[in-house]
Amino acid sequence: MIGKADQIFVLLQHWIMGFFPPAWQAVVGILLGVVAILIVFPTLFALSVLLERKGLGRMQNRYGPNRVGPCGILQPVADAVKALIKEDIVPFKADALVHFIAPLVLVVAVFMGFAVLPVGRNMVLVDMDASLLFFFAMGASTELAVFMAGWSSHNKYSLLGAMRAVAQMISYEVPLLMTTVVVVMISGSLSLVKIVEAQNHFSGIFPHWYVFTPWGLAGFVLFLIASMAETNRSPFDLPEGESEIIAGYFTEYSGFKFALFFLGEYVGMLGIAGLGTTLFLGGWAAPFAFLNWVPSWFWFFAKIMLWICFFIWMRGTMPRLRQDQLMNFAWKFMLPMTLINLMVAALWRFVDEAWLRWAVCWIIVIGAYVAMGRMGMRRKRIAPRRYRYAE
């Protein structure tokens, strides 16, 4: 069931590799993959920025950008040109070297993550054994870049933003890792390629994605929340809370370095969306058996763009959290839920009877969710707020 259209990029790569002597072919193949990543994901970045601006506009009953090109589709090009020709200002008291390196570290770390994402059947740059770990290792390096940016700017707002960002990213990295552990437990592999292959089965027309199991659904929701926090997206965008600390850690960046931060943020979003898709939504697997003829890479990109659309939707909906709410949510809700989810996954693995494990796992997951929600709500006493002086 592997068509030509499905493998078109792989065939293209081999065709180009054929022009080189055999000793060079491996290097050329890797280079081609790198070039493809460096072309495709920045393009998607431009697309998602445009989608975000238009979508947010529509949610607020505005038009959004509609001037540059037909319906404003050339807006990202205009933004890129603007970023390129703007003056690059380095503050006088800034640590010039670190200030310069920070955006580079961020962008490099973010792009490295794509090396292990299987974007289609046989389409992964490096198929390694511990690719999930690799992805998180690269994600962890971005924290350092953020700190470098905030500290080297020699600006209180930058430093505050960086500290907020680092604290938030560390706090949410714990649940993020724990939710992925569930998938690793069930599929028995850290390799993303194998995880996708484990999900690419169908019973009837319905796929066996992990999101359709109790532990998978819980893991998916937790992963979604944690990934929003990890990429500093609204409602977890405290590190760049415009109303409080200007732009957080990239307050002092301008011109192309700012564009690099912007790129890093959105490409990081695409990366984590790709990881979530791979872990829970079946990666490049088709959603229905009869849709298997559609190329696998199409499904992958369609899924990550859906994911991005959901991020935009959330951004249009939610107000920003407060710092204590953020931390309470991470440590008092997310972490216990992920731990319970780990136990549920273990039960799933070791209970053999199908109906029993479905029933037990659903009961535990839903029960834990309701109980923790109740507990959290009771402590906060959520009620219509009364203002003494406004009546």
Partner: protein, 214 residues
């Protein structure tokens, strides 16, 4: 239940998102260069100089008294008095501004110049598209740019302009009445001392100016 509010919020934004494509009333944006809202009568943007009659240079109400120049908080007005004189709306000889420049980039649209002007000579315009690609010359408006006819003033601020016209007309009528009375008195007195006949006629505008300032 936990998360209920988030779902409600998501539904709300989704409703707005879809609604903005369906119903035009939701979109409050005015697509500016193509669409325009008519400026409201109370709009005030940038000062201009009012002139009466067909010729802008002869009809300028401004007498270069420089009160606005002194009162202007950001000091964006520059006036040079003329050497010669020309008759104003009541026919009296007055100095006129040889130069009257306002710097668009400095003006803060506070309207203080309008409030202090005793001659109803400077008023606020509604034109807001003052941007230009010439940073220096283009943003400095000289008196020819600034001069706009009284009819234009009527067009943009009808209520205010008719009030001003009524006031000026009243003063003019008062002055004429006074001049007539003085002329009559002079004519009555003309029998005995013929020599100082011209003097009271010339001193009459002064109290009129005083009433104007109120």
């Amino acid at each position: 239940m936990l998360g209920e509010g988030i779902l409600k919020g998501l539904a709300e934004t989704a409703k707005n998102f879809a609604g903005s494509y369906v119903s035009k009333e939701r979109l409050t944006t005015v697509q500016y260069p193509e669409e325009r809202i008519p400026t409201s009568e109370s709009a005030r943007v940038f000062p201009f100089l009012v002139y009466d009659g067909p010729d802008w240079e002869a009809g300028l109400r401004c007498v270069a008294c420089q009160i606005c120049e002194k009162e202007c908080p950001p000091k964006c007005i520059y006036i040079e008095k003329s050497k010669d004189k020309k008759p104003d709306y009541v026919g009296k000889l007055q100095i006129y501004p040889a130069r009257f420049d306002i710097d668009v980039s400095v003006c803060m649209s506070c309207q203080i110049c309008v409030e202090v002007c005793p001659f109803e000579a400077i008023k606020m315009d509604v034109e807001f598209e003052l941007s230009t690609d010439d940073r220096f010359g283009g943003l400095l408006r000289n008196r020819q740019h600034l001069a706009k006819s009284n009819e234009y003033y009527h067009q943009i601020h009808p209520t205010e302009a008719s009030e001003v016209d009524a006031r000026l007309g009243e003063e003019k009528a008062k002055l004429e009445a006074k001049a007539k009375a003085a002329a009559a008195a002079a004519a009555a007195k003309a029998a005995a001392p013929a020599a100082p006949a011209a003097k009271p006629a010339e001193s009459t505008p002064k109290p009129a100016e005083g009433t104007d300032k109120q």
